[in-house]
Amino acid sequence: MIELLNGFLKELSHAIDNRKVLTKEEDRYCYSYDASFGQYLPDVVIQPTETEEVATLVKLANKYGVPIYPRGQGTSLSGGPLPVEGGAVIDCSQWNQKLEIYPEDMIAVVSPGVLTSSIDQKANQYGLMYAPDPSSSNVSTIGGNLAENSGGPRGLKYGVTKDYVIGLEVVTPEGDIIKTGGRTVKNVTGYDLTKLIVGSEGTLGIITEAILRLIPKPQATETLMATFHDIVDSGKAISTILQTGIVPAKMEMMDQASIRAVEDYQPLGLPTDVEAILLIELDGHQVAIKEEIEKVRVTCEEMGAKEVKVAKSKEEALELWKARKLVSPAIVKIKPTKISEDATVPRSQIPAMFERLKEIREKYHLHLVVFGHAGDGNLHPNIIADIRDHEEMERVEQAVEEIFHAAVELGGTLSGEHGIGTMKSPFMEMELGEVGLEMMKRIKESWDPNHIMNPGKIFPSPGQRLVLRND
């Protein structure tokens, strides 16, 4: 093993600028984690900035049987970039040199390490936007977003990453360079490999360039906040609004536990006796959304809202959103470890999911708060615990398992946006069935015959269980 690794490193040192190869212990430890759990020390970290370099190193990895793990900025919440079997982390975060906007074609061509938010910012200069907006967009790379098929609040109206990628350049697990899709929105030439790569969590190749679709930036926005005594009413309000034909750009909810946490942390004057707050943002033509926000207001009231506030200015809108922004800092004040889940259910099952989450919270005596993208059923149950408390962490693991079961039973999915990685692989079969999972495995085997591309992800090893601990 050591000999193979040394062989790999030796040949690598001739092929790649040595400044891009990190082998010091302190450097390697800094790529041993992501934003989830678990720490695995890689043997080397490589920071390529050219497709050829990637092709070379992947070929060498095959030759010496060294596992490699693509990594963006390590914000994955599911363990995607963790070097679980040692080997080489391929850090793409420094590969951010290309960010080209073609306003006439309404596309962007980007290198994998470009930050998601900078694509949108640059597109804005042309009156365009890049719609997918994971909350982490200021830090996460487009490569990571593509690999995880990330989505955000705007997903409800605009869809997620996969809806905006039309072409990719990929280095295959055997080190060949391929291009998928192209610069046109319509493209039916052969299998849609682009979509196969998107969401593959770095197990089918390393994305080295992407062609993304841009859309016109909406002119105006309207924001509304509604409070509900009964969380079920808020669920009804969500479905009624959507049935009237209005598709809000964002529809976020906070439950009572998160409202209270925010008020304890930084009093904003939110009512702590209500069970839910809905935050709704419409975007589009100024005149049209003025009318629509009024309809939304009336609907909320009819569904039993206690109070509805429509922001009169940009500042007021920001003030309303502040509550939602403060949830994360507020809840970690309670305890430091945050386990952020993203199990997603069909919209109609949101109230049922809330019931189940309530039961789980009580059964395991945990701080469980729920907030997130209510409009698309992508709730974010977050459990707040202390990783140093082993007994508590065991309860957390059981609770998380039960959340997964609940979501799947209600016709939903394990993960709406964070991906499977190492964390959720034990539950894959539960959702996909034996054959479903087997078909995926066959794809993986045929793409990566030497098992070197991000091993240990998506597919469970026999007997694997959920573990939320670092040691």
Binding site: E26, C30, Y33, S136, V139, K333, T337, I387
Partner: protein, 432 residues
């Protein structure tokens, strides 16, 4: 294993604080060293994780050294963090442990020279004053031989000559004389103590003098109390907590003798240290309270002046941008007041630059000790400066002031762009 390592590192390092880090990475884009060095070991998330690993004994302390050494301490990672990680504390604890760890090795001539500077020069304003006109940086040159083998040897002659060019001309004996007690024309509206600092008071004496005159013009009684000393920031930043504590005590005692409404300074970096004095005494209740009282009175001059009325007399026809000091923004959390003051100057046109809150790379004596790294950071800063068309850059901290001057010089723009301390412009507008 050395002494420190044997003791419980979990207690010595801010181990508990590291658990607030959820490794979300939100701090990465805010960190100047991550941007210029491109490695996680030079990012807040990486550094915090390494401190945690060192506390757990999973890596030796030596692995911490370079990442901690190359941190600017600008603390831009703190406001960026959604979970309020106390990075300052984590960093400081690592510095203290590394400093103690290295004490053993600090016996050679070089270490003695460095220690001499820190222990026998900085704490004594009068000695610095004597050196005064011959300037601090020349002192470093003179010591170069002695500083051999320490990191300060990185300060090569050609580099020092860069600083030479941009350092203000030494104050003559006449300018060095100063009144220690100023009374306003009318009944004082406030009585304030003034904190001139040590190194900066030799290099930027004029700015301190102007600050005092401005306070006076705004109606304050201003006093420089005896027995005050160096703020201890440089000691604290190199991990010498013991000396920092002693200096803090001396300052606290000196200022306790009078009843001041505020203790005013015009040096963002020192102000930050003074405003966190209580952090030094978390294990000593009595001193903690006294330090806290001192800290809460400590204010940057821009804060105090913004509460008062300044007698503007003439227009200052300049188009300027503003480079806030990190220590003022991220530690003292003072952002609106200096900007409002700047904009209030008659005749001034203010153009903001992109990412003003990004560190310029001066960071105490970082630019001397880590010259190359500092210049990379400065070059990033200058890219943003170059985007705006201005004839002045305004700062609130002498360290940033020098660094920005160096930046302008490096861009070959010394003829077009001048660097000012905010109080210089205020003084000019008031005809002082």
């Amino acid at each position: 294993m050395t002494k420190v390592a044997k003791q419980n590192l979990k207690d010595k390092l801010a181990y508990d604080e590291t658990f607030s880090c959820v490794q979300c990475g939100y701090c990465l884009p805010a960190c100047p060293t991550y941007q210029t060095m491109g490695k996680e070991s030079h990012s807040p998330r990486g550094r915090i994780n390494l401190v945690k690993l060192a506390a757990e004994g999973k890596i030796p302390l030596s692995r911490l050294e370079e990442p901690i050494d190359l941190c600017l301490g600008c603390r831009a990672c703190e406001p960026a963090c959604p979970t309020n990680v106390q990075y300052g504390k984590i960093l400081e604890s690592a510095k203290v442990v590394l400093f103690e760890e290295k004490k053993e090795e600090r016996k050679g001539v070089s270490a003695r020279a460095e220690d001499f500077l820190f222990n026998h020069i900085f704490p004594y304003p009068s000695r610095l004053n004597k050196i005064g006109s011959s300037m601090f940086f020349y002192q470093l040159t003179g010591m170069k031989k002695a500083l051999h083998a320490t990191k300060l040897i990185n300060v090569l002659p050609e580099r020092l000559s860069k600083f030479d060019k941009i350092t203000p001309k030494p104050a003559g004996p006449f300018q060095r004389r100063r009144e220690h007690h100023l009374l306003p024309k009318n009944q004082p509206v406030l009585k304030v103590g003034f904190f001139p600092g040590c190194i900066m008071d030799t290099v930027f004496r004029d700015i301190n003098n102007m600050s005092m005159k401005l306070l006076q013009a705004a109606g304050c009684e201003v006093e420089i109390v005896d027995q005050q000393t160096c703020c201890g920031a440089l000691h604290s930043h190199r991990g010498d907590r013991q000396t920092a504590k002693e200096l803090a005590k001396q300052n606290i005692e000196a200022f306790e003798r009078e009843d001041f409404a505020y203790i005013v300074n015009s040096i963002g970096g020192c102000g930050a240290m003074l405003s966190e004095y209580h952090h030094l005494f978390e294990d000593d209740m009595e001193w903690y309270e006294r330090a806290k009282a001192f800290a809460s009175k400590t204010k940057d001059i821009s804060y105090v002046l913004s509460q008062l009325e300044l007698p503007f007399k003439k227009d200052v026809q300049l188009t300027v941008t503003y480079q806030p000091s990190c220590h003022m923004t991220n530690v003292q959390k003072l952002t609106d007041e200096p900007l409002a003051l700047l904009k209030s100057i008659p005749g001034i046109t203010f153009i903001p630059m992109e990412k003003p809150n990004k560190c310029c790379g001066s960071a105490g004596i970082y630019n001397l000790v880590h010259y190359d790294e500092s210049m990379d950071i400065l070059d990033e800063k200058m890219k943003d400066v170059n985007q705006v068309s201005v004839d002045g850059i305004v700062t609130t901290n002498p360290g940033c002031h020098l660094q920005m001057k160096l930046g302008v010089e490096r861009e070959g723009k010394s003829d077009q762009i001048k660097v000012y301390h905010l109080v210089e412009l205020l003084g000019e507008a008031c005809g002082l």
